[in-house]
């Protein structure tokens, strides 16, 4: 809009007024009024002129106040140069002058004086004070407002507000940078957490960093334990500083700052206004007089408390530092919860894996393929209601023409029952000399197992049967087990028999009577556990002895091998039960003659 030449030309258009005022308040006041009217004549806005009036009065009064006796008679020179760009004011006095401060601060709000220089500085853009032997000159400048007559006082106010905004901005920057620091730190911690699963080390690093960043003299992290009723020390800094002592009861709200913070779930400050009680565990820490206790909460659940302690009365905990405390502790709390969940998951995984191993072992203990001389066939199966069960069956060859059949049901289910079932299997196999005398075998077995079983408050039922292929005789004995079913010849009705005998592990000395059978052509025997007969359908009906007997007879007629008969029997059982889950292990051995 204008060339530099035109600008200098324009600035050449200027008017000047010079006044020699007496060195007293009255003359200065008159001079400032004169200048004000003159500036308005030069086209300055009323308010701009008024602000120069005030500046001039303040400057002149300063000259009057700081004059000497000799200079009292000398005038105060005032020169105002008004161009269309700016106003320059020179105030010359002949006194000794004074030290014009670089920065002019507002005095205390209560102070009577000291505002003159502040007003001069605030209402001008440039302010220079030149001291000389013959006199001092104060040069004040401010550009004219080009647009609509601006309120010069408002300009001062604007500057003030700008300064306030800058302060606010600087506070925000500090907070932002502390937020940024915490964010960076948290990312770093997250990375570290992946590398180390040790919560103690990890929390130690976070908390010692937090202590450094907040300038605390001590820090203590206690975790809520025993069903959220007590606080126990987890980490404390310095390590030997404080934090020992017994757990703090969270109910002791009056006696402990930490308990108070934990129970009301709010920050609790302590210091001059709220000193530590005599029996407060924090008071045990040497020289700790102030600080802040912050409860760590995750989803409303109390994890613990973190306390920053200071040896001085004023902890200088700025909002940014408190923010830092909150952020770090929240993060630590989340890691704590995560670690606990992780632990539980790991434990569950380990347990599941152990159960798988146990199930594998148990399966491997079952006879893989039992060989019997033709035309006999044999089948055995064991279905556990759980991954591992307490049922067991075993088929042990005994010489060229003997076969030992064992079936047992340990009270209870799961791993303990499976362990005892495995013991029974091993004990039976260790006594081949007694296979031909099942009653004696059970008696001996009971004696062997009695201590183990009664010690574990458990017992087992068992059925053992010895088949002599040379004469097709079957000798059985029962330790409280459900009956076996025998079809003596092809197409014959199934007969069952209950041999008396206490379960294993109830009494030390028990006699077990034996029963004898003879398998004719097409004869068959079924030994099973009560998981079969006690299986229920969705309506709650039991499969029962009658159905089993009936189905056993039918499947023998419908099939030709033990394997097929066993499969068909189990299919019928399954059909009866429909979708109802088996509540007990189901085990059977089926042996038949062609």
């Amino acid at each position: 809009m204008s060339t530099p030449g035109a600008a200098s030309l324009r600035s050449a258009f200027r008017s000047v007024i010079q006044i020699e005022a007496g060195c007293d308040f009255v003359s200065i006041r008159k001079a400032s009024e004169t200048v004000q009217s003159w500036l308005v004549e030069q086209g300055l806005a009323e308010r701009e002129a008024a602000s120069w009036e005030l500046v001039l009065a303040e400057a002149g009064n300063n000259a009057v106040e700081h004059t000497s006796v000799e200079a009292k008679s000398l005038p105060v020179g005032i020169e105002v140069i008004c161009s269309d760009r700016d106003v320059v004011v020179r105030v010359t006095d002949h006194g000794p002058g004074f030290d014009f401060p670089e920065e002019v601060e507002l005095p205390d709000l209560d102070s009577d004086g000291g505002r003159g220089l502040f007003l001069i500085k605030s209402l001008t853009e440039s302010c220079r004070y030149l001291r000389g032997p013959g006199g001092n000159v104060l040069v004040l400048e401010r550009s004219r407002s080009e647009r609509a007559p601006d309120d010069s006082l408002s300009v001062g106010l604007l500057r003030l507000r700008l300064a306030e905004a800058e302060r606010a901005l600087s506070d925000m920057t500090e907070e932002l940078s502390s937020n940024y620091e915490s964010l960076v730190a948290l990312f770093r911690y997250s990375g570290e957490l992946g590398a180390s699963a040790n919560l103690l080390d990890f929390s130690g690093r976070i908390l010692s960093d937090l202590m450094t960043l907040t300038g605390a003299d001590a820090l203590i992290f206690r975790v809520a334990g025993s069903g959220q009723s007590v606080l126990q020390t987890f980490r404390s800094f310095p390590p030997d500083g404080f934090g020992g002592g017994p757990p703090i009861s969270i109910a002791d709200v009056a006696g402990s700052i930490e308990a108070h913070a934990a129970s009301c779930c709010e920050d609790v400050w302590f210091g001059v206004e709220r000193p530590l009680g005599a029996r407060d565990p924090l008071a045990g820490a040497k020289g700790l007089v102030s600080g802040l206790c912050h409860p760590a909460l995750v989803a409303g659940q109390l994890i613990g408390t973190v306390t920053l302690g200071y040896a001085s009365e004023d902890p200088h905990l700025t909002a940014a530092k408190v923010n830092l405390l909150h952020t770090f502790v929240d993060f630590l709390g989340i890691q704590f919860v995560n670690a606990r969940l992780q632990d539980e998951r790991t434990r569950a995984r380990v347990t599941r894996r152990e159960l798988e191993i146990a199930a594998n072992i148990q399966r491997s203990l079952l006879p893989s393929e039992a060989r019997v001389p033709a035309p006999f066939t044999i089948a055995g199966t064991c279905r556990s209601a759980l991954q591992v069960g307490g049922d067991l069956y075993d088929i042990v060859p005994a010489g060229p023409d003997g076969l030992m059949l064992v079936i047992a049901d340990v009270m209870g289910k799961g791993v303990p029952a499976a362990l005892l079932a495995a013991i029974i299997r091993t004990a039976v196999r260790s006594m081949p000399q007694l296979f031909r005398k099942p009653g004696v075998l059970l008696k001996t077995l009971n004696q062997i197992l009695y201590e183990d079983f009664s010690g574990a408050d458990m017992f087992a039922t068992a059925k053992v049967a010895f088949l002599d292929f040379s004469n097709r005789s079957l000798t059985s004995a029962s330790a409280g087990h459900c009956p076996l079913l025998v079809c003596a010849t092809r197409g014959a009705s199934a007969a069952s028999s209950v041999e008396a005998g206490l379960p294993l592990g109830i009494e030390r000395e028990v006699d077990y009577p034996e029963a004898r059978w003879r398998l004719g052509d097409g004869g068959a025997v079924l030994i099973y556990t009560d998981g079969l007969t006690e299986a229920r359908n969705p309506a709650g009906e039991m499969y029962g002895d009658v159905r089993l007997t009936h189905d056993f007879e039918e499947v023998l007629r419908a099939t030709s091998t033990a394997g097929d008969a066993s499969s068909e029997l189990l299919r019928r059982l399954k059909a009866f039960c429909s979708d109802a889950p088996a509540s007990d292990d189901q085990t059977l051995i089926l042996l038949r003659h062609c």
């Binding site: 006041r29 308010r47 209560d110 004086g113 502040f118 007003l119 309120d151 106010l157």
Partner: protein, 99 residues
């Protein structure tokens, strides 16, 4: 300058409050205001010029009232006067009322 019926001492009619008259105004008010007066109201409606000495007078009167447990109020200050109060942040100290 007079005492109202409710006991408030009221000062008004000043054209300026500045180096020239600030000390005089302060002393006159202090001497004429009763010792038991617990409220002082400065009506600044007519004040067109206020400088730092004037501010000193206002602060001195404010302190005097506060010391005796009384109240100091500034009433009807013109915009330019108000702005000087704001500039020096004394608006945070004084009770300022516009009627």
């Amino acid at each position: 300058m007079h005492q109202r019926e409710d006991g408030t001492f009221e000062v008004g009619g000043l054209v300026e409050l500045a180096a020239l008259n600030a000390a005089q105004v302060r002393d006159e008010i202090k001497s004429r205001m009763g010792a038991d007066c617990l409220a002082l109201e400065m009506d600044l409606a007519s004040v067109t010029f206020l400088d730092s000495s004037g501010l000193g007078t206002l602060i001195s009167l404010h302190k005097a009232l506060r010391t005796r447990g009384g109240e100091f109020r500034i009433v009807n200050a013109a915009p330019n006067v108000l702005q000087i109060l704001e500039l020096t942040r004394l608006h945070r100290v004084f009770q300022i009322i516009t009627r």
